[in-house]
Symmetry: C2
Subunit: 435 residues, 2 copies
């Protein structure tokens, strides 16, 4: 029996909204948002969308009117009572009241701030300017909206069974990956795939398949949770994630002198240390080069729980960290290394084999979990592409990211040169950016 | 929104019935039923289930109580008003009132007769004894019930996502086949997969995929219809099929002398010719050997529209028919050759390439359309197997089938020897029975 009310209700939709909740976002955005809310609330920052895959001309695929409708819909969202209750009452990383009452009060009244949209050279120039803790919450919904509008544009011409078979193929592929991962003893892996997912329902499917295939880590399985708060809430999973490059990037942009610039990345972590402990004390070392960052790091940082390797050769990155921990008298086997860059099954297996027993290994699996439609439609029209939304300036000063892969560098050329000098970054090995 | 009424209704089911309609059967069973109803109504015949795949011990997979429940449910079925209206009012093979009023009146009151079930050596000994036109209607539902109970037994232990991925893989496989078939110009193909289908819903899915992928032949596509009446009715397709081995088998068993036995297969077609014309005049020549059957055939049979090749080497069979037509002064390019034995994409392509232009070629695609789950579960537990339900005796006399493949022969050894002598069948090449 068709449920008539559902069908009639569906017909009333003006649009099929892509982002339907303010917590359909990565958990670390909320952690960072609270940090910023507490430490540097009045900083003006600009976030900007950037498509690193130039060959994908988004303005030719996505109608500007539809994009505006989706962005406007997201602007209308407010935290629901249930979402608020969950954020206030749930345990995150073993801690109650992770989100403090003053932050929650602000968040309960929050709506996404205005956006600025222009068309330039086949791409959408989409920017968000305003208070840092407000505009930063646009990052994930903006990416998710553009990724899904692109998926929809490609799927639009397909027949009903063609569509069903497309998803059948994609499901079989995800399941094969999960079956392959089952064979890795002691694996720990989370979903980090919100930002460049194929679509919300698809991410939700992938997460549920991970639960069934690998088992929830809370019940002895290998699947440690999802970065997506809405899915974590609905599927009764751990919400996971710690912090990202925007913190050192903005702190660095605000630095008045080279000396202050050099200290900025450590200042970020000093602030973080005041708020968080245990598994939330994860170093993200690559913003201005992992090697120099660790060499010059204060001793207290060696006491942190672990490190996240998000660019460059991951074996090199983790080996550098192990050497560093040893040089600071720490036992690497007690440390956690989280890999989160361009992962797929083979790389996960290799890294796990290389490091298991030497450090505690964990994986944050992103785009190739939630958006691997490579080769499934003509012209590979659903292959994931490299869309980012980054803080590009703070208080009118440009931000810079170097990372351990020059292909991922961001910022004005002269500023990149200055940062390289200040942070002592020499020759870097360029690696193709997978996603 | 969940439709509560649907959910509560589903909970009330005692069983999930496999066969839910008397017309969830092959169209040719109804044509033959009417023929028998008209010509030899009072013949007592026994149909019996036979599993040619001995290694699959059905009694260990399927609970006897469940089997009885399903068979009993089928016995409770009556033709619905809509089904009756469709059979009476629809055009089949271009003809109105294919089913005559006296037959329809009888069919409207019909229920499947009692069955006899015993367990023997790991197999179900399931027999149906009674008036031929009544017991013959058990063939398809009995096969469909056993095939689907076996599928369910294997699927029973699987998780929700594992199941979804299993069907995803099977869908992707069917679609790949359909995409491959799209590349064959002038192809004409029908679904003949009812009897050994994975399940009803799955057959229905495969048929719909064929419609979308190949296009309905009524609208210029390559898909000429389905043998399944219920699906033909619901999906607005041609119901297709002509006649089967049971007619010559029973006619032959009833023959009193060797001379009468020799004539029996032609008597079947003489009776058929009185009722049907055009594309329903299709010779099924292999019951007692294609070669001898055609050599000794009366001239009027060469005027029939075509031939169905259902055993032996299909190229040999069709070449034999072409040579025969030429020897009787007929133009083979005007004749229809229907291949229906153990087909899959590669064989379809080969046969089409071999015969296109020389005869009109058509395909009845069965088990490997509607039940290709090979390799998709451990121990290949869902691979199709060779289950048949055949007339084994008529008026207490055993039936015999030789076919063009000795592996498909049926009947007591001494009777097989007598039939071989009477029909002049010599050495035959044994071929593995695919399904």
């Amino acid at each position: 029996m068709v449920d008539i009310a559902t069908r009639v209700y569906n017909h009333k939709w003006k649009i099929d909204p892509i982002v339907r909740s303010l917590i359909d976002t990565d958990f670390y955005k909320l952690l960072m948002c609270q940090s910023i809310f507490r430490n540097t609330r009045d900083t003006t920052v600009t976030f900007s969308l950037h498509n690193r895959s130039k060959s994908i001309r988004l303005t030719e695929l996505i109608d500007e009117g539809e994009l505006r409708q989706q962005l406007d819909y997201a602007r209308g969202l407010r935290l629901t009572r249930g979402e608020s209750t969950w954020l206030r009452g749930n345990t995150f990383y073993g801690k109650r009241q992770m989100f403090r009452p003053d932050f929650m009060e602000w968040f309960e009244g929050f709506q996404l701030p205005p956006y600025h949209l222009e068309v330039r050279d086949g791409q959408y120039d989409l920017t968000f300017e305003g208070k840092w803790h407000e505009v930063m919450l646009w990052e994930i919904p903006a990416l998710a909206i553009l990724m899904e509008l692109r998926s929809r544009a490609v799927l639009n011409a397909m027949g009903r069974f063609e569509l069903q078979v497309l998803y059948a193929r994609a499901m079989a592929r995800v399941w094969e990956k999960i079956e392959a991962l089952k064979g890795i003893p002691g694996l720990r892996i989370a979903d980090f795939g919100t930002r460049r997912r194929h679509g919300f329902l698809w991410q939700d499917w992938c997460v549920q398949a991970m639960i069934e295939g690998l088992g929830d880590a809370a019940k002895g399985g290998a699947f440690t949770g999802t970065s997506n708060c809405l899915i974590a809430m609905r599927r009764d999973l751990e919400a996971v994630g710690t912090n990202a490059h925007e913190l050192p990037m903005v702190y660095a942009a605000l630095a008045e002198t080279d000396a202050a610039l050099r200290e900025a990345p450590y200042k970020v972590l000093a602030d973080w240390q005041e708020e968080h402990e245990g598994n939330l004390r994860i170093i993200l070392p690559d913003t201005y080069g992992t090697k120099g960052f660790l060499e010059h790091a204060p001793d207290w940082l060696a006491g942190w729980t672990g490190i996240r390797i998000d660019s460059g050769d991951p074996v090199d990155g983790a080996e550098t960290a192990i050497t560093w921990w040893k040089s600071r008298g720490e036992d690497p086997t007690q440390k956690l290394v989280i890999f989160s860059d361009g992962l797929d099954v083979e790389k996960i297996r290799e890294l796990h084999e290389h490091f298991a027993g030497r450090v505690r290994v964990s994986f944050g699996w992103g785009t190739l979990l939630t958006n691997d439609f490579r080769g499934l439609v003509p012209d590979d029209g659903l292959a994931p592409f490299s869309l980012v939304c980054k803080a590009i300036s703070a208080e009118g000063r440009p931000t810079v990211k170097l990372s351990d892969n020059p292909e991922k560098a961001l910022g004005p050329t002269d500023e990149i040169a200055r940062y390289k000098r200040v942070f002592g970054v020499g020759q870097q090995e360029a690696m193709p950016v997978v996603v």
